[in-house]
């Protein structure tokens, strides 16, 4: 089993790790860096709840080899906001009670961030498409859509 040096940035912090070829980004984030906010739901890329942003683009971390993150910038939910300094998307999810069981919420928030970073004025259709890779089994998605609309408005107002 060959080993590789992985240098990458996670939530703004630089890391250098030795990883094996088959190690998944998901496991490196959860088990090596202790970032448990990224969840595992199916391990086959179907549910989307392990999604993180890699160079600003949403990827399923169960389908990405750790080594594919070399020299990339990864953003996980832990890098989005803190209790003292919530991101507007997190605030909006709380406002709408858009989190029920909460298991898909880190991925949903990152999908929302990818959308709103690129498109500050999303239509309903844009919002549906941006979240379509992530399964939420609790909410029926409606409050999630509302939260994203609210966050978009707040982010625009604070620009």
């Amino acid at each position: 089993m060959s080993k590789h040096l992985l240098k990458f940035t996670v939530n703004g912090k630089k890391h250098a790790l030795v990883v094996q070829s088959h190690e998944r980004l998901l496991d490196v984030l959860r088990d090596r860096l202790g970032l448990k906010g990224t969840k595992e739901g199916c391990s086959t890329g179907d549910c989307g709840i392990c999604a993180v942003l890699m160079d600003g683009k949403l990827v399923n971390s169960c389908l990405v080899f750790a080594i594919q993150a070399r020299n990339k910038e990864i953003l996980t939910i832990e890098g989005v906001g803190t209790a003292e300094n919530l991101h507007p998307i997190q605030r909006a999810f709380m406002k709408w009670n858009a989190s029920q069981c909460g298991y898909c919420i880190p991925a949903m928030i990152l999908a929302s961030k990818e959308l709103l970073d690129k498109n500050p004025n999303p239509t309903s259709e844009d919002i549906r498409k941006a979240t379509s890779g992530i399964i939420c089994r609790c909410t029926g998605y409606v409050k999630i859509f509302e939260a994203i609309k609210t966050a978009a408005a707040e982010m625009k107002a604070s620009d």
């Binding site: 906010g37 739901g41 549910c47 209790a83 069981c101 979240t131 909410t139 029926g140």
Partner: protein, 771 residues
């Protein structure tokens, strides 16, 4: 159409209850805090992988684990022989072993578990297990399993439960009818898909007890189950619920006992913490799903639309083990006529064993299947009568003063008519039904309706009680804890609102503690949407007692009598002098004087009273009512059905937290849309062929139609402030409403769901061939 006025109903005035407020669990969840089971696993733990049967019915001739035991890195292999207590992990009937010993009854049944510090080693060792099966005759169809010469899955036969409803005389009712309409309806195995697959870990304690942590609904069911397996006293098994990433039913019964039971065996043998997390595939095969039903209906009706007789036969496939199938069948049986007044009823419901994977608890619990059949059939009857299906429903629906199929008197807390009226208005029923008949082209549109009632809480399904503990800390933090768990519903947050309302204190002081058997008394299972109805009553009781205690302390401080003290928003005021003290003053005074600010209480619902042979009487203590309309577009060339709009109107008694309530309604509605159009666990010879989320489809954000939720409030007799169950009901009606809309669009009845493009095209072809 008369509309019952809601004025005059006694509605309690509330300040905090009834307001849309944030859930207490939201902050940790939006921050991605490590709160779920697999986020908090102990260091130096062993990880288990489960050896499962690959065949659906066989004698185990040989189970050779020797190569797996010797595989480098494998620390322990456990089987039934390692069980110090009883080899049982069941929900209701003692029919299911934790590990199969001499015989397996479904493909996926656990036989052994392998533990290693490295989960991938345990997984590799699975390949080294050598099992020899001697096939036994199989049966996969519940109707075939009912036949006398069918293979027997268990020694006492294939019927786990037969329940009857007998009211009046159906033969007499059929004689009075102008027409009789018959039909048979089929529903699939629906997979709950909680996004977090089953997970748990067990820590062996130095004193021989164990601590179990997991993704669970019902801590006390786990405690009882693990104690039995380990031969420990219940109190030696501590069960703590970690944040639970969805449940929907399967995490309430034997499945968490499977997970934690296997881990516990490894933990007590190795004296190391042991972790077991199911893969998605294991979860989909191993846990309970919604029972498939075959429902045959024969209904008599007069030309004026009055129903005269309703005969129903319901056959439920519970798979290889009963789980809660017998109780699912009770609920289905009691709801098999839909929410209608029918003088003569004869219902027979059977819970039947097969060699399929297990069915059990899943949101709705027999209600969706019963209503799919009843509500599809009402449209068929309307078609035969040449009547608007809405009119047929209005003629026959339950209203205050009428009797249900079990001759239970419908009380004033019945807002069914208002639900229908409001949903119909919002859907633009008459106008659209007319417009859509004029559409040309391959894409047709239709509008359908379905209505329901849903017996609240356990009713005949078990002892219905809830226990709540509250204590006030020195800083005023008022903590509530209960073994009624939070697994996504938001209901425990609702308990805090009820407590704050009852004590007249700001909601900000209230916190929810973890569900932990060490600190929470038994509350029964967290199922049947009973957290608000039953737990809410216990909360009112406990908060009432604690509130009185605070007023007594305030009265002492104000040198007054309790009766002269009133409290508003955390300020205690002596009415006669206008002197006041704050909540925090009162708490400080209580602590300084050694007055304990702790209360515990259990609310037990009255027993339901009905005659067991005929099921006549009170079967549930209150009902939730609802009406749903669905508007669809059917592509007659591809068979694809797109839902354009769903309107829901539910009589919830009292909305404790309207925004959370809407969330429950929307979530249940979309699960119901999945049940209608795409969700089906497919078994081939008992083997699940689509145990993954690529081949088992659940609705995504792209499937969500325009939605409108209407809340109607007719206070019920049971719940706090008149609140009724709402967790389960929203999954019931989308399927019949959508299938009725499809029929309205293309004139073809689908008797079986899901209404996949294949089924729609086939039904269209059949209809064309027949005409």
């Amino acid at each position: 159409m008369t509309t019952q006025t809601t004025e005059g109903l006694r509605r309690p005035q509330t300040l905090i209850v009834g307001k849309s407020v944030g859930r207490v669990d939201s902050l940790d969840k939006v921050l991605g805090k490590p709160i779920y089971t697999m986020d908090i696993t102990p260091e130096n733990a062993l990880y288990l992988k489960v050896v499962r049967s690959s065949v659906s019915h066989a004698l185990l001739k040989k189970v050779d684990l020797s190569r797996a035991r010797k595989y480098p890195g494998v620390v322990a292999v456990v089987t039934a022989q390692d069980i110090p207590g009883i080899n049982e992990s069941s929900a209701l009937l003692p029919d299911k072993p934790l590990f199969a010993t001499d015989r397996v009854r479904f493909a996926g049944e656990p036989i052994a578990a392998i533990a290693s510090f490295d989960p991938s080693i345990a997984e590799e060792a699975l390949e080294l297990v050598d099992i020899e099966y001697e096939p036994l005759p199989t049966v996969f169809s519940p109707t075939e399993a009912l036949e006398p010469d069918s293979p027997k899955i268990h020694t006492n036969g294939n019927v786990a439960k037969h329940l009857k409803v007998r009211k009046g005389d159906v033969e007499e009712g059929f004689k009075q009818a102008d027409i009789i309409v018959e039909g048979t309806y089929k529903t699939p195995f629906q997979e709950p898909v909680p996004l977090e697959p089953e997970a748990g870990f067990v820590i062996p304690e130095p004193d021989g007890s164990v601590t179990c942590v997991g993704s669970i609904q019902s801590p006390y069911h786990v405690q009882t189950g693990i104690a039995k397996i380990l031969s420990l006293r219940s109190e030696q098994v501590r069960v703590i619920q970690a944040a639970t990433g969805g449940a929907f039913g399967p995490k309430s019964d034997e499945i968490p006992v499977d997970v934690l039971g296997m881990a516990a065996l490894v933990a007590i043998r190795t004296r190391k913490p042991a972790v077991l997390a199911y893969t998605r595939e294991e979860s989909m095969i191993g846990h309970t799903k919604r029972h498939p039903f075959v429902i045959s209906l024969k209904v008599g009706v007069k030309n004026n639309g009055k129903l005269t007789a309703w005969e129903a036969k319901l056959i439920a496939d519970t798979g290889a083990y009963a789980s809660l199938g017998p109780l699912v069948v009770i609920r289905a049986c009691f709801h098999a006529t839909g929410p209608y007044v029918i003088p003569n009823v004869k219902t027979d419901a059977y819970c039947v064993y097969t060699n399929n994977t297990m069915a059990g608890s899943f949101r709705g619990f027999g209600g969706p299947q019963a209503h799919f059949a009843a509500e599809s059939h009402m449209d068929e009857i309307a078609k035969k009568l040449g009547m608007d299906p809405l009119e047929l429903r209005l003629i026959n629906m339950l209203r205050p003063g009428t009797l249900t199929a079990t001759s239970q008197l419908v009380d004033e807390g019945c807002g069914l008519e208002e639900c229908i009226t409001k949903a119909v208005k919002e859907s633009d029923w008459y106008n659209k039904r007319l417009q859509y008949t004029k559409l040309n082209g391959a894409k047709k549109r239709g509008l359908g309706i379905a209505i329901m009632y849903h017996g609240n809480s356990l009713g005949p399904e078990g002892n219905d009680f809830g226990t709540v503990h509250m204590q006030i800390d020195r800083d005023g933090t008022t903590r509530l804890r209960t073994a009624l768990t939070e697994y996504g519903t938001g209901a425990p947050s609702g308990l805090l609102q009820i407590a704050a309302e009852t004590m007249h204190l700001p909601l900000g002081y209230f916190k929810l503690d973890a569900s932990d058997t060490e600190y929470c008394g038994d509350s029964g299972p967290t199922v049947a949407s009973r957290t608000i109805t039953i737990g809410g009553r216990a909360t009112q009781m406990v908060a009432g007692n604690l509130g009185r205690k605070l007023r007594q302390v305030a009265a002492d401080m104000l040198q007054s009598s309790v009766d002269d003290v009133e409290v508003t928003d955390g300020v205690y005021r002596r009415k006669s002098t206008e002197q006041s003290v704050t909540f925090l003053d009162v708490v400080a005074h209580a602590y300084a004087n050694g007055i304990p600010l702790k209360e515990t209480g259990t609310f037990t619902a009255p027993k339901c009273d009905y005659e067991p042979q005929t099921s006549q009487g009170t079967v549930y203590l209150q009902y939730t009512y609802g009406a749903v309309t669905a508007e669809v577009e059917v592509d007659t060339e591809t068979g694809r059905v797109q839902v354009l709009k769903i309107v829901t109107a539910y009589d919830v008694g009292k909305a404790i937290n309207p925004i959370s309530l809407e969330g429950q309604i929307e979530g249940g509605t979309i699960q119901g849309l999945g049940y209608a159009l795409m969700e089906e666990m497919i078994h081939k010879n008992g083997v699940v062929v689509n145990p993954n989320l690529g081949d088992y489809y659940v609705p995504t954000s792209l499937d969500v139609p325009e939605m409108k939720s209407i809340i109607v409030e007719y206070p019920g007799a049971l719940g706090p402030f008149g609140a009724k169950a709402i967790g389960e009901p929203p999954i019931v009606l989308p399927a019949p409403a959508i299938v009725n809309a499809i029929d309205n669009a293309i004139g073809v009845r689908l008797n079986e769901i899901p209404a996949t493009p294949d089924r729609v095209l086939l039904a269209l072809r059949k209809a064309t061939a027949q005409s």
